[in-house]
């Protein structure tokens, strides 16, 4: 075990945690915004997959990672557009539509991949990193945290931006009102449908980016069903964070670290079944809930379509 605690190993571990955590962070932030506005977005897994495939395909065809990320965001946005139309505009059941979209885009992306690439899984070129001068020279954590693709920094900035928006801006207030007491928001002259639509579309865009990150930075290729439940972990993270973006960051870091540990130990040849390590974050969160279990606050109108004038 001593050999495991070398600087190189720790760097790889932290680096892996960032790589595994960023998709969860992006999708979790999106889900959080959507839930804040009162829309339980179960389609987030489908949005991530759409982003992952779109990002991979564009990056593969144009050999541009940046275009890949734009395509990924658009892919997630496209799925979210469907979700917003069906669940916010028309007020259809969010769980049925969410699961429908997830299943549908699992199928569509798998089918597109099969039609375009058959059984081959072409690799993307390595993603360029942005080296933050000074910080990147810190031993162990420097290369793991400060020599990463630009989008990693953007994701962290996004956490701060979201925190600021939720606490200090009218938009944050509108979002919260749309989820807690939509009728009150309506009375003040703000269109609930518009606020919720904006939240769902933002969630889709972020989930799409997360998916694109998974494909382009995480794996460097696209495999059908590659999100493998990440969207559902994002839902859990968003709910546990109770509306605070920093908690999503913390949660994503913990889950990312455990996922990274799984791979790292396998590489190091330690004979612990990966399943045991994968259980750790969930077991830890359950333990916290059991010990400190109190009312996990959710928006009062979460999941309830808003119909103007209805009682």
């Amino acid at each position: 075990m001593e050999a495991l605690l070398t600087a190189a190993f720790l760097t790889a571990l932290i680096s892996g945690a960032v790589t595994a955590g960023v998709p969860l962070l992006l999708a979790g932030l999106g889900e959080q915004m959507s839930e804040k506005a009162g829309v339980l977005n179960v389609g987030i897994e489908g949005m991530m997959l759409a982003g992952a495939f779109a990002g991979f395909f564009v990056a593969y065809s144009t050999e541009s990672i940046a275009l890949g990320f734009i395509a990924g965001a658009l892919g997630g946005f496209g799925v979210a557009l469907l979700m917003a139309l069906l669940c916010v505009r028309l007020g259809l059941n969010q769980i049925v539509i969410g699961i429908g979209l997830t299943l549908g885009f699992e199928g569509i992306t798998a089918l597109l991949h099969y039609n375009l690439f058959g059984r081959t899984y072409p690799r993307l070129p390595a993603v360029e990193t942005l080296r933050l001068p000074g910080l990147a020279d810190i031993p162990v954590i420097g290369p793991a945290l400060f020599d990463r693709p630009v989008i990693v920094y953007l994701a962290v900035v996004l956490v701060l931006a979201a925190s600021f928006a939720y606490r200090r801006t009218n938009l944050g207030l509108y979002l919260q009102a749309a989820g807690d007491k939509p009728a009150a928001l309506d009375v003040t002259g703000i269109d609930v449908t518009r606020i919720r639509t904006a939240a769902v579309l933002t969630a889709g865009t972020l989930a799409g980016l997360g998916g694109a990150f998974l494909a382009q930075v995480g794996a460097g290729l696209f495999v059908p069903f590659m999100t493998n439940g990440a969207g559902f972990i994002a839902i859990v993270l968003a709910m546990l964070a109770r509306g605070r973006p920093v908690w999503v960051l913390l949660g994503a870091a913990i889950f990312g670290a455990c996922l990274s540990l799984t791979t790292a130990l396998q590489v190091a040849g330690v004979n612990v079944p990966t399943d045991v390590i994968q259980m750790i974050p969930f077991a830890a969160v359950m333990a916290v809930l059991v010990i400190f279990g109190r009312n996990a606050h959710l928006p009062a109108a979460l999941g309830i379509p808003y119909v103007r004038g209805a009682r």
Binding site: L40, G91, G104, R294
Partner: protein, 362 residues
């Protein structure tokens, strides 16, 4: 008990339908969107370069009209029906048990671990019954933490059941890989229950008698929820937990009971699938039925009989799609797209129907 019982929209109690146009309405609201989904997906197949008519004919022929295919379809229905029963009881009581897959897998693993061992010392039928009971207990036990947290702390059960399902999936793998490993095989899997010792087939067919268990469970749940005082209590809790508390119902206790019943049915589903069909659990096996059954149950409006029809239809598409993937070369994933399109169009049609009625009344 806090008011986040309403945090996610409460399942609606079935609305009375107009008797006269019930059948026309059923045809329009159910068959219309299904047909539309077939047509939409046919267009997608044409674009992808397949012959949609050949594909659909093959799916229907394999799923319904070929003897062997129909038997597979009916066998596949068993675990799906038990999931449906598990979800109907929970959803009607206003509890969002989204952890069915974890409960199912652990039930399956326990049944798979016990059956080959017990069969050597006990008669067949006792073994099968013991295994099913144990699987039900395990499924129920796996809901205990979410149930207690929900009942006494008001912790939202969507989070906790989802987490328990992730935990359960991994834990099932740990059990298969470390504890119940069959030393005789190189692939990590549990010991296999011989075909002759499994749940009996129905009268000269290869349909697992799990089908009967599934049907009985769904019908029993439907009757309990709609025709008994116990069911009424649960529905009151589901419709308005505060009102239920005021009416003197033991809401926390009822919550725990609902969770336990729901988990037990999901666990039984796992046992039935193992004892009837697979005979063992392989590492990383997870059919994830629950995710597909959730929308089916919603579209059936928590009605057991409607759920049976939807489950049959879904099973046909799955079995037919699996065969078509081998024969016609349309990948299995196409079934997912077809089913998703159907979910969305069915929900849309229901919305249109409700709007039409609302206008008719106004």
């Amino acid at each position: 008990m806090t008011d986040d019982m309403q945090a996610v929209s409460s399942p609606q109690l079935a609305k009375p339908r107009f008797a006269l146009d019930a059948w026309t309405s059923l045809a329009v609201v159910t068959l219309g969107p299904i047909l539309a989904a077939f047509i939409l997906c046919a267009l997608a197949l044409i674009v992808a370069g397949y012959d949609p008519i050949a594909y659909y004919l093959y799916v229907v022929e394999r799923g319904v009209f070929s003897g062997q295919g129909l038997q597979q379809t009916l066998t596949r229905m068993a675990p799906l029906l038990l999931h449906a029963a598990s979800l109907i009881i929970a959803f009607r009581a206003g509890i969002w048990n989204l952890g069915g897959d974890g409960q199912f897998l652990l039930g399956a693993v326990m049944a798979a671990a016990l059956a080959p061992a017990l069969i050597t010392v006990m008669p067949d039928w006792i073994t099968l019954i013991v295994c099913m009971l144990v699987a039900m207990l395990v499924g129920a036990a796996w809901t205990l933490i979410p149930a207690l947290l929900r009942a006494y702390q008001g912790v939202n059960e969507i989070i906790t059941t989802l987490m328990m399902t992730f935990l359960g999936t991994s834990f099932a793998n740990v059990l298969v890989k470390l504890i119940f490993l069959d030393p005789g095989t190189t692939v990590p899997q549990t010991r296999t229950l011989p075909v002759g010792d499994r749940l009996p087939w129905l009268y000269g067919t290869t349909i697992s008698s799990g089908l009967l268990i599934g049907l009985a469970a769904v019908i029993a749940v439907h009757v309990i929820m709609t025709r008994t005082a116990f069911g009424l209590r649960l529905r009151v809790v589901g419709a308005n937990a505060k009102a239920a508390l005021h009416a003197g119902l033991a809401v926390p206790l009822l919550t725990v009971v609902v969770f336990a019943l729901s988990g037990a049915l999901a666990g039984l589903g796992g046992a039935v699938d193992i004892l009837g069909v697979f005979g063992n659990v392989r590492a990383d096996w997870n059919p994830a039925y629950a995710l597909a059954v959730v929308p089916l149950v919603f579209l059936a409006r928590f009605n057991g009989y409607a759920a049976i029809a939807f489950v049959f239809f879904y099973a046909v598409l799955e079995i037919g799609g699996e065969s078509a993937a081998r024969r016609i070369g349309v990948p299995q994933h196409f079934t997912l797209i077809l089913v998703a399109t159907m979910f969305i169009l069915l929900a849309l049609a229901e919305w249109l129907d409700q709007r039409r009625r609302a206008k008719g009344k106004g």
